[in-house]
């Protein structure tokens, strides 16, 4: 009850204009909830980021045969100027943007549908389905990869003959299909995560509202669209943003598909692949860092716009 001290005796009339107001103290205490996090955040995120940012302002140069020590010099914004002019980078970005426009809404709609469906089924059912639907998310990446390569394989996988039964000749590894194949894998792996976050927000809906709507004769679909969906919007906005970020940083799947469709997926196919290549292959960490920053800024702007749009609909 040590708290009693901090609570004023007459809470209805908080002291205004005192040397330390009741509201100020409350705010301070509220802020103190975030302090443990902030301490760790500063140490484990902000400091390393600051160290990394510095790198983007320098450049390394060699001379002669390139076998001696490289000289590092401060070049200011030069790496950024180059990044802005880098056609390969922007082409890659255009590619993933186009991909994101298709895959992100698809993932989101499907995840929302699943969250709503689980929410609308009996609790016992819900708990069963939830586990199954979360399994792809829990599947380790290396296993998911191995599985899909097998399923997609034109010569040994089951999907190609399956589509043949419907007269469709599908080669998942062909140039034209690669994006579809990558997108499908991403959707499969991402459903569970999105669904879990969205489902959480559905738990906060007051049962009375839904019961009232039902008494008014609203259909289940109507209830889902006009009552439940608005409650989900914040979590949809969050997962959309995370999805966009993940999409723009697309690396694993295209990297994998490089072997099966090398004529299509080049080393600079996506911005993330290009950054990786610059940092760890070409060995230009300075430029790679500058590219990462440009990419982060663009994603920031895109997320802000989408966030605004969603809030407006709200």
């Amino acid at each position: 009850m040590s708290n009693a001290k901090s609570a004023p005796a007459t809470p209805q009339s908080p002291k205004r204009g005192g040397h330390i107001s009741w509201r100020t103290l409350e705010a301070l205490k509220g802020a103190s909830f975030t302090w443990p996090f902030l301490a760790g955040f500063i140490f484990f995120v902000i400091i390393p980021v600051a160290m990394a940012l510095q790198v983007s302002l320098y450049s390394k140069q060699k001379s002669g045969l390139g076998l001696g020590e490289a000289t590092t010099k401060f070049v200011g914004m030069q790496n950024f100027v180059e990044a802005v002019k880098d056609v390969t980078f922007w082409t890659g970005l255009g590619r993933v943007a186009l991909y994101a426009i298709i895959v992100v809404p698809l993932t989101q709609l499907l995840s929302m549908a699943i969250a709503l469906l689980i929410d609308a089924s009996s609790k016992r059912m819900a708990s069963r389905f939830r586990i199954f639907l979360l399994l792809p998310y829990m599947t380790p990446g290396i296993v998911a990869t191995t599985i899909w390569i097998y399923l997609y394989s034109p010569s040994v996988g089951p999907l190609t003959p399956f589509f043949k039964m419907f007269g469709l000749n599908v080669n998942f590894f062909s140039s034209g299909m690669v994006w579809g194949s990558i997108g499908q894998m991403a959707i499969w792996g991402g459903l569970g995560f999105n669904m879990l976050i969205m489902y959480g927000s559905l738990q906060a809906i007051p049962g009375e509202i839904i019961e009232a709507a039902r008494l008014d004769g609203a259909s289940e679909l109507r209830i889902a669209v006009s009552i439940k969906v608005p409650y989900m919007l914040t979590s949809v906005a969050l997962t959309t943003m995370l999805n966009i970020i993940a999409t723009v940083q697309l690396f694993d799947q295209p990297f994998l598909f490089r072997s099966v469709s090398p004529q299509t997926i080049t080393k600079d196919f996506t911005p993330a692949m290009m950054i990786y290549n610059q940092a760890f292959q070409v060995g230009n960490l300075n430029y790679a860092t500058a590219l990462s920053i440009v990419l982060a800024v663009i994603m920031g702007i895109a997320s802000a716009i989408i966030y605004k749009l969603q809030n407006r609909e709200n």
Binding site: A7, Q12, V45, V49, A52, V143, L202, M241
Partner: protein, 314 residues
């Protein structure tokens, strides 16, 4: 006791009573308001079943594969069992290969994931709660930093983190596995979104009127309303920890400290680079490694069932 105090106590009581009742009713399998009624119930079920097949179907390959031996893996139908049943032999190999290191990795992963997830849940739920329910002047700044931090590609941070952790003596210690993961900005954001939806400001005001301090309000009232988000964050972070391999790969030197996923990654890499393909061991290891996550999911079920109704206050 003032009238206001009585009133707020009343609200608190009714709130929890309602929660308890709901919980009780769910346990006997009664329906709740959110779930669909009538014919649409069957529609919901049918769609859920189709989606479940989509989610789980691909994992069938994994189940079949872990019962095969090395020869059968690529030479028999991937979707059906081979003549001989090798699951037990594979399990034996798994737990004896490299002097039985898999068991050690599994144990490391279990306790690291549990401790780290518990830590991240406490730290981020309190931080998210502070950000959601209190107005203090650094709030906007913190939220801004959190959102910007989503955009930072992880690869950017490995070199600076390595330098930093070496300086402060975190490198190659258990702490490096536990601490950095406890300050995930995404989880703070998630906790904030959920806290906004599930902790009614009116309830906190009423408790203040009662003379409760801010910390006591959190411990005795708000934290109980945040069980669902906490469970969600715990699960997400557990799965994240479970599947992480980059972090231990970079920051742990001694392979006895590795996690399961890093160990499996290393087996798969070594298998493709040398004479002896370890794919079957990797698949068996991955299969076994999914079991604890599924068990955890089942254990956390009850926290999703007990969504507390908060609407009556609005």
């Amino acid at each position: 006791m003032s009238a206001a105090t009585q009133q707020s106590t009343g609200i608190k009581k009714s709130l929890f009573d309602r929660g308890d009742k709901r919980r009780a009713s769910q346990e006997v399998g009664e329906s709740t308001a959110n779930q669909a009624k009538g014919a649409s119930k069957w529609g919901v079920l049918a769609v859920l079943i189709i989606l479940t097949v989509y989610a789980v179907g691909p994992l069938w390959w994994l189940i079949v594969s872990v019962t095969k031996n090395k020869q059968q893996l690529y030479t028999t139908n991937g979707l059906w069992f081979a003549e001989s049943f090798n699951l037990f032999k594979n399990l034996h190999d798994l737990f004896t290969y490299q002097d039985g290191i898999y068991g050690q990795w599994l144990w490391n992963t279990i306790w690291i994931s549990l401790v780290c997830s518990a830590g991240v849940t406490i730290i981020t739920v309190t931080a998210g709660y502070g950000l959601a329910k209190y107005k203090f002047h650094t709030r906007g700044l913190i939220m801004g930093m959190i959102i910007i931090s989503f955009l930072i590609p992880g690869t950017l941070l490995t070199v600076p983190s390595f330098i930093l952790f070496n300086k402060v003596g975190l490198y190659d210690t258990w702490w490096v596995m536990l601490l950095p993961g406890m300050f995930t900005p995404m989880n703070v954001y998630l906790a904030k979104v959920y806290a906004e939806g599930s902790v009614p400001t009116e309830l906190m005001e009423a408790a203040r009127v009662d003379g409760a301090g801010e910390y006591r309000i959190f411990l005795q009232i708000s934290s109980r309303l945040l069980v669902t988000p906490a469970a969600t964050i715990f699960l997400l972070s557990f799965v994240g920890n479970w599947n992480s391999f980059m972090w231990p790969m970079i920051f742990l030197k001694d392979y006895h400290k590795w996690t399961v996923m890093l160990g499996l990654q290393s087996w798969i890499a070594r298998g493709t680079d040398s004479q002896y393909d370890l794919t079957i061991l990797v698949l068996t290891g991955a299969f076994i490694s999914m079991i604890p996550v599924v068990l955890l999911m089942i254990a956390l079920q009850r926290y999703w069932k007990s969504g507390v109704t908060v609407g009556s206050l609005k």
